[in-house]
């Protein structure tokens, strides 16, 4: 047997950061990623015949509640087509919150597995993000139905959505890597984060227009990366325009920073997972 072309596993105490090797490792386990995503989706949709319908009903019902609340009790001046305004961001927020929370659960859930077989540990964050993306795409079907029903125009700019999804997903993956690694070490991280997501939702102009924010708090909204990231999804759907260059720039920068920080922290902490699982 020639030893020249064998795969070599080098398991050393000091592991230099090597993104190419990590990506190649993930690519090798593509079949596992596909399996995990498939399992996620079937668990979600297979349970009942109405599985698919339910995911579509959820935003629909929520929409009715919010339309009633915000067009009769709390009225925001000057928002036409409020359902479209709200849903075009709420759907991506739902994707972000669900992906980050589920990544934490998924990593610790597969703890006993990681103690017995070698898999790239970032695979759980990656597969959670991918199944989240699939769900997100499905959730746009009821949104477009609502838009048609309420007479909100659908313009060609919606073709920008895949790009928006990719940037938002990259950001969600970075945050997922960071949080899931921390949550293995500290069990209170996931509790704190669940509360934090509610805070995040109100720190981002999803329900309300940015114009109602008092000037002294405006900076808080502006430094929130989610504000820019979610605008990527809202502008092409609600305004019918492509998002401005500064929005795209801020979003891409946030996503890149999140990915790098998440990946570096994950890489460092992953070596100690074994003792904490």
């Amino acid at each position: 047997m020639s030893t020249a072309d064998l795969p070599v596993l080098r398991n050393a105490a000091i592991e230099p950061l090597n993104p190419i090797r990590d990506i190649r490792d993930l690519a090798q386990y593509w079949n596992l990623i596909a399996n995990l995503v498939q399992r996620d989706l079937t668990v979600r949709y297979k349970r009942s015949v109405f599985g698919f319908l339910w995911t579509m009903l959820n935003p629909l019902l929520l929409m009715i509640i919010l339309t009633v609340v915000f067009s009769t009790m709390f009225r925001f001046e000057g928002i036409e087509h409020y359902p479209t305004y709200f849903l075009s961001e709420y759907l991506v927020f739902g994707f972000f919150a669900q992906t980050t929370v589920q990544s934490m659960t998924s990593l610790s859930w597969h703890g006993s597995l990681m103690k017995r077989v070698r898999v790239p540990k970032s695979i759980f964050a990656v597969s959670t993000t991918l199944s989240g993306l699939a769900n997100l795409c499905l959730a746009y079907v009821p949104l477009f139905l609502i838009m048609i029903a309420t007479g909100s125009p659908i313009r060609w700019t919606v073709l920008f959505l895949p790009v928006a999804f990719l940037i938002i997903a990259a950001f969600a993956l970075g945050v997922s890597l960071l949080l899931s690694a921390l949550a293995i070490y500290f069990e209170d991280v996931s509790h704190m984060y669940q509360v934090a997501t509610i805070g995040l939702m109100y720190m981002t102009p999803i329900i309300y227009p940015i114009s109602i924010v008092p000037y002294k708090w405006l900076w808080l909204i502006r430094i929130n990366p989610l504000t820019h990231l979610f605008k990527l999804a809202r502008d092409p759907v609600y305004l019918g325009t492509l998002p401005g260059l500064h929005v795209v720039g801020a979003s891409v920068a946030s996503a890149a920073i999140a990915l790098v920080v998440g990946w570096v922290v994950f890489h460092r902490l992953a070596r100690g997972f074994y003792l904490h699982l």
Partner: protein, 263 residues
């Protein structure tokens, strides 16, 4: 002779016990950091272990519970990272750290074969090609379409062993599998391991079954408290370990090498 299939260079694994385990929340960690600092109790699982195995040879690892046998196997499999040194493994690994790993009770045997194959990093195509062979070896027949929760322990063990060993691998890691199942299954496992040996696969075995280790292995390592107490040919190392064990059993007050099992 070419490069060794498995090479350990000064591999150590130490971990900090009590203190680190005690801190489970971020709040506690921050408080400790700010006030007293951390105090650690260090535990040594493996200490400066070095060895090399040439391709095609079989290595048996013996030692008491908690001597570091499974730790060594897990480092070789890339599951656990050492805290010092490095382990280099050349070739595709078929790990059998534990049988029945990752099985889902609700899924059928067929579905579990594909999911398990994915866990071991294999492509769907490869699993499709090997599917019949796996079912044959596991002797499950029509049961393959039933959920795994309806299987007996023996059936689960047969299926797991079949999945893990029906693969083109260069290196096989075995942890106590030979003691699972009935006589018939054990003989089948034995036959398969023998065929791996003939095919030139490198094998590492951890077992308490000293006779089996002696029969199967060329090389042997005797671990004690994480150190290599003795290493060399299996036919020298295993009898030496057996002799010390018998002596300790006969005179437990003096030998004192028997430690309680590690968690």
């Amino acid at each position: 002779m070419g490069e060794p299939a498995i090479e350990f260079r000064d591999v150590s694994l130490r971990y900090r016990l009590a203190a680190e385990r005690g801190i489970v929340t971020l709040k506690e960690w921050v408080i400790r950091r700010l006030t007293t600092g951390m105090s650690y109790q260090e535990l040594v699982a493996l200490s400066r272990v070095s060895f090399a195995i040439q391709p095609g040879r079989a290595l048996g690892i013996v030692g008491h519970n908690g001597a570091g046998k499974s730790t060594l196997l897990r480092i070789a499999g890339g599951i656990l990272a050492p805290t010092e040194g490095e382990a280099i493994v050349r070739g595709r690994i078929a790990p059998i750290i534990e049988l029945g790993l990752g099985f889902e009770g609700e899924l059928s045997g067929r579905e579990n074969i594909f999911f398990n194959g994915a866990l071991l990093g294999r492509s769907r195509l490869e699993m499709q090609r090997r599917f019949d062979e796996i079912v044959d070896f596991s002797e499950l027949g029509d049961f393959i379409e039933q959920p795994i929760r309806t299987y007996s322990t023996g059936m689960v063990a047969r299926l797991a062993f079949a999945i893990a060993t029906t693969v083109d691998a260069h290196i096989l890691l075995l942890d106590e599998v030979m003691s699972v199942g009935d006589e018939h299954f054990r003989r089948k496992c034995q036959a398969r391991i023998d065929s791996f040996r003939r095919a030139g696969v490198t094998i590492v075995v951890v077992s308490h079954d000293l006779a089996a280790v002696e029969a199967l292995c060329d090389d042997g390592i005797w671990l004690e408290h994480g150190y290599i107490r003795e290493g060399g040919l299996a036919r020298d190392v295993v009898p030496a370990y057996r002799a010390s064990m018998e002596q300790a059993n006969a005179d437990p007050g003096v030998g004192g090498t028997v430690r309680p099992a590690a968690p």
